[in-house]
Amino acid sequence: MMNFNVNGKTHRVDVEPEMPLLWVLRDHLGLTGTKYGCGISACGSCVVLVDGEAVRSCGVRAGELAGKKIVTIEGLGQDGLHRIQQAWIDHEVPQCGYCQTGLIMSVAALLAKHPKPTDADIDRDITNLCRCGTYPRVRAAIHALAKG
């Protein structure tokens, strides 16, 4: 049995230490807002925050997370909508929506480090893949957030 601190709550789960965090979240904790896209940390659909850092949860093992605080899309806006989520609504960012939760979590980490990111900061840190091509709206929403 292992303990996971997810969205402020401790969960006790019987999983093998090699199981990627993604599958602990999805199949054992029922937190399906975090998506599988590639399993090789290439697409970013599975991004969650681990101690505030954007982490691709398909690439981190359950056994590496003792004592770490994990935040998923379900826990981002503690009382309703997080400001990033509101900006996403304001800019009508999502299309199919599948990659958007990972994108939003990546942006949360970016803005925590760079409250006013430049285009170069965005290009460097937001490497999530979106097959629908919501990129122009992602960029516009981030810049709107930077303006406050």
Binding site: E16, M19, P20, W23, R26, D27, H28, G30, T32, G33, T34, K35, Y36, G37, C38, G39, I40, A42, C43, S45, T72, I73, E74, G77, L81, Q85, W88, I89, E92, V93, P94, Q95, C96, G97, Y98, C99, Q100, T101, I104, I122, D123, R124, I126, T127, N128, L129, C130, R131, C132, G133, T134, Y135, P136, R137, V138, R139
Partner: protein, 726 residues
């Protein structure tokens, strides 16, 4: 074979109640609409499309799928426009495929592809709204005992003008449902639209930013198991045998399912199933396809290009005489263009959850572009009659054509769950399976021969297309005299006024499965519009002027090309170091054009800075979602230009994941400006048309920048370096 045939007795269809899981499909609804099969007390179905709650909430049923294009919202807008309800109180739910079957296909087509979601259903969904409005007005008139003509509806309230009395739709719905539907209804002129034609907010977005929508891969049912699949890596091959001893001993593993073309492991979590799958020792029979590679496929297509007696997709004027007559054709230009197979790469992999229930019914949860086709695939794989099957249409993590034809993942999901009667099993493909078992955009080669007169005008054109046929593989009845219209799109219907034209088509199919990849036939836009650019340069003319000279006044292509070129500043100097290219190409009911601005560094690095896309779809139901589709099409169209390709070696796909089948990133995304220029009088689509001119506009800009004519994609195979200045 480990799958036991189910021995369910045929009995009358038992209405499948809305389980907790069944209601999952409705999660996106505002504000959590009633479960469709067991509506909340007091909810009235005014007609098949419209449910009204006592508190005036309106739930509009959507028969098409929502895969990101905003179809769900646009269709709801069209119904609400004619219904005259309060848009703030509108929600939506997917119509049930099973109910559709039992109600004699009351919702029309459920197929979502070809940019048809709105354009092919706009008429009947608007009629449904108008009809319900008349019934609601009629109910109010009855209650007040006044002529209906004295009553009018607006924002969900019927008012009796002479007395000022008012009744809400929620108060009238039950009585309205009893009034016979009017035989004739008048639809509102689009210029008077109040809800349609406006950029209302998409209904599905608030839930999508919270991670709430249940995509196919997110389905969770009590006691559900998970499956991972390995299909024969060589297309057309079969399973010879499998040693599953090690896999079966692994934690959580329940069963190994063997079928003709695949093996699947069922376990208590997907990761455990997938880990065990990788421990299987599988022997495949490659059906003799194991030596086929790119070279063999190219040779197959080339044989088609050179074959005699090919079916003609177009024959106008007298091509042979024109080319033989120096008085007509003063100069001949020939070129051959090519493009590779391409994968859809939906971010959500193929998935299907199936549950053979103890009452003899079968329930399916899947991300499908066609709920009816999914039901038929489930019937074929299960042997059950359609009335015993329900399909829950989940949110799609992208579709782009992959989830329409065929429903291969549904058949597999059913075959796998059949091995576990009474237990729901969710099949999800790994990314590698998804990449290697697609239904790819066909590779093709096209040879074009143009005859220019003394003034450089195009007077004769002969085109040969060698391309695997999508229709022959997936919808053979749609073939016409050996012609697959998707293979000759843009060539057989080229809009330019060229007196002598011939288009011949060689369908050369091979063993690689092909399918409808966003805007099927779009590679022809690259071929044709780059070739036309070559002719313009050969004639020493501006590429825009050259095209306009071949488009009649009032021609829709001409109008959208002019509007787009104007918005892009064609004819004015581009930003320093940048170069422009343009293209026009129509399809899917709409007319589209694009201007791209690119720069190419001395080292050969291409940057696409800006793409201006114009679309004339006749009418625009939601301008903002249409602009989003233009942006989407630029992103989707960029990958095949830059680096995307599916290569075949040893009968199988080389690429496996996003490390070698790359998708464009935010950093690579150009600025997109959309010109919506609807001219009215027809209904065109938006999911695909804007992609058609993207690749040729970029490649024509690359020529402007480098003087290098790109005749095959992707650009990663081309050296765009410029010689150092002397």
């Amino acid at each position: 074979m480990t799958t036991a045939r189910t021995t369910m007795k045929r009995r009358d269809f038992l209405k499948i109640s809305a389980t907790a899981a069944g209601a999952l499909a409705l999660e996106f609804c505002f504000p959590l609409a009633a479960a469709r099969a067991a509506p909340q007390a007091g909810v009235t179905e005014v007609n098949a499309w419209i449910l009204i709650h006592p508190d005036d909430r309106v739930v509009i049923r959507i028969a098409r799928s929502e895969m990101g294009q905003g179809t769900l919202t646009a269709l709801a807008q069209l119904v609400a426009e004619e219904l005259d309800c309060d848009w703030a109180k509108v929600g939506a739910e997917f119509a049930s495929p099973n109910e559709h079957f039992r109600r004699n296909r009351v919702w029309g087509s459920m197929s979502t592809g070809g940019s048809m979601g709105v354009r092919a259903s706009q008429d009947y969904v608007r009629r449904a709204g108008a009809s319900a409005r008349e019934m609601l007005v009629g109910a109010a008139a009855q209650r007040w005992r006044v002529p209906a003509a004295e009553c009018a509806a607006d924002k969900g309230i019927v008012t009796h003008a002479p007395t000022g009395r008012k009744l809400r739709y929620g108060e009238l719905a039950a009585e309205a449902a009893k009034i016979p539907a009017p035989k004739e209804v008048r639809l509102r002129d689009p210029k008077d639209w109040k809800i349609a034609g406006k950029s209302v907010r998409r209904l599905d977005i608030p839930d999508k930013v919270l991670g709430k929508p249940v995509f196919g891969v997110d389905v969770a049912l009590p006691g559900m198991l998970h499956a991972s699949i390995a299909q024969c890596p060589v297309f057309g091959g079969k399973l010879r045998g499998v040693d599953a001893k090690d896999a079966l001993a692994m934690r959580g593993v329940k069963k190994v399912v063997q079928q003709e073309g695949f093996v699947a492991v069922i376990a208590d979590s997907w990761w455990r199933a997938d880990q065990a799958l990788q421990k299987l020792d599988i022997e495949w029979d490659d059906a003799g396809n194991g030596r086929i590679g790119n070279a063999e496929i190219t040779a197959m297509l080339r044989e088609g290009l050179n074959a005699a007696g090919l079916p003609k997709a177009r024959e106008t004027g007298n091509v042979d005489r024109a080319f033989a007559d120096a008085g007509q054709v003063a100069r001949v230009i020939e070129a051959e263009y090519a493009s590779p197979y391409l994968h859809h790469a939906t971010l959500e992999p193929m998935t299907c959850t199936a549950w053979f229930k103890s009452d003899g019914s079968l329930e399916i949860w899947t991300s499908t572009q066609d709920g009816e086709a999914a039901m038929q695939a489930a019937a074929a794989a299960s042997g059950l009659p359609l009335e015993r099957i329900e399909v829950h249409k989940m949110m799609l993590g992208g579709g782009f054509g992959r989830r329409g034809f065929p429903q291969d993942f549904v058949g597999q999901g059913v075959a796998i769950a059949k091995a576990m009667p009474g237990v729901p099993v969710k099949l999800m493909w790994s990314r590698e399976e998804d990449t290697r078992h697609g239904h790819y955009r066909p590779a093709s080669i096209v040879r074009m021969k143009a005859g220019l007169d003394k003034q450089g005008r195009l007077v004769a054109m002969q085109t040969r297309v060698a391309c695997p046929s999508i229709l022959k593989a997936l919808i053979p009845m749609a073939m016409r005299d050996g012609i697959d219209f998707t293979s000759v799109l843009g060539l057989a219907d080229m809009p330019y006024t060229v007196p002598h034209q011939r288009v011949e088509y060689a369908s050369r199919d091979g063993h690689v499965p092909v399918g409808f990849w966003r805007a099927p036939g779009q590679q022809n836009g690259f071929y044709r519009e780059c070739f036309i650019d070559e002719l313009a340069h050969a004639a020493g003319q501006d590429p825009l002027a050259y095209r306009l000279a071949m488009l009649a006044p009032g021609d829709k292509e001409r109008l959208i090309l002019e509007a787009t070129a104007k918005a892009a500043g064609w004819g004015t100097p581009p930003p320093a170091g940048q170069h422009r290219g343009l293209a026009v190409m129509s399809g899917f009911g709409s007319f589209a054009a694009a201007v791209a601005e690119v720069s190419v560094s001395a080292a050969g690095a291409l940057k696409v800075h800006r793409v201006v896309v114009g679309v004339d779809s006749g009418y625009v139901v939601n301008p903002d979602t249409c602009r989003a589709q233009a942006e989407s099409n630029v992103a989707y169209g960029l990958g095949p230009v830059l680096y995307q390709e599916i290569n075949i070696r040893n009968g199988r796909v080389v690429e496996a994941n996003f490390n070698n089948f790359k998708l464009p990133t935010l950093a690579e995304m150009p600025k997109v400006e959309t010109v919506l220029a609807p001219t009215g009088g027809f209904w065109g689509g938006h999911g695909e048309p804007a992609i058609l001119p993207v690749a040729p506009a970029i490649c024509n800009a690359v020529f402007a920048a480098t003087g290098k004519r790109v005749r095959s994609l992707p650009l990663s195979h081309h050296d765009l370096r410029r010689p150092a200045p002397a």
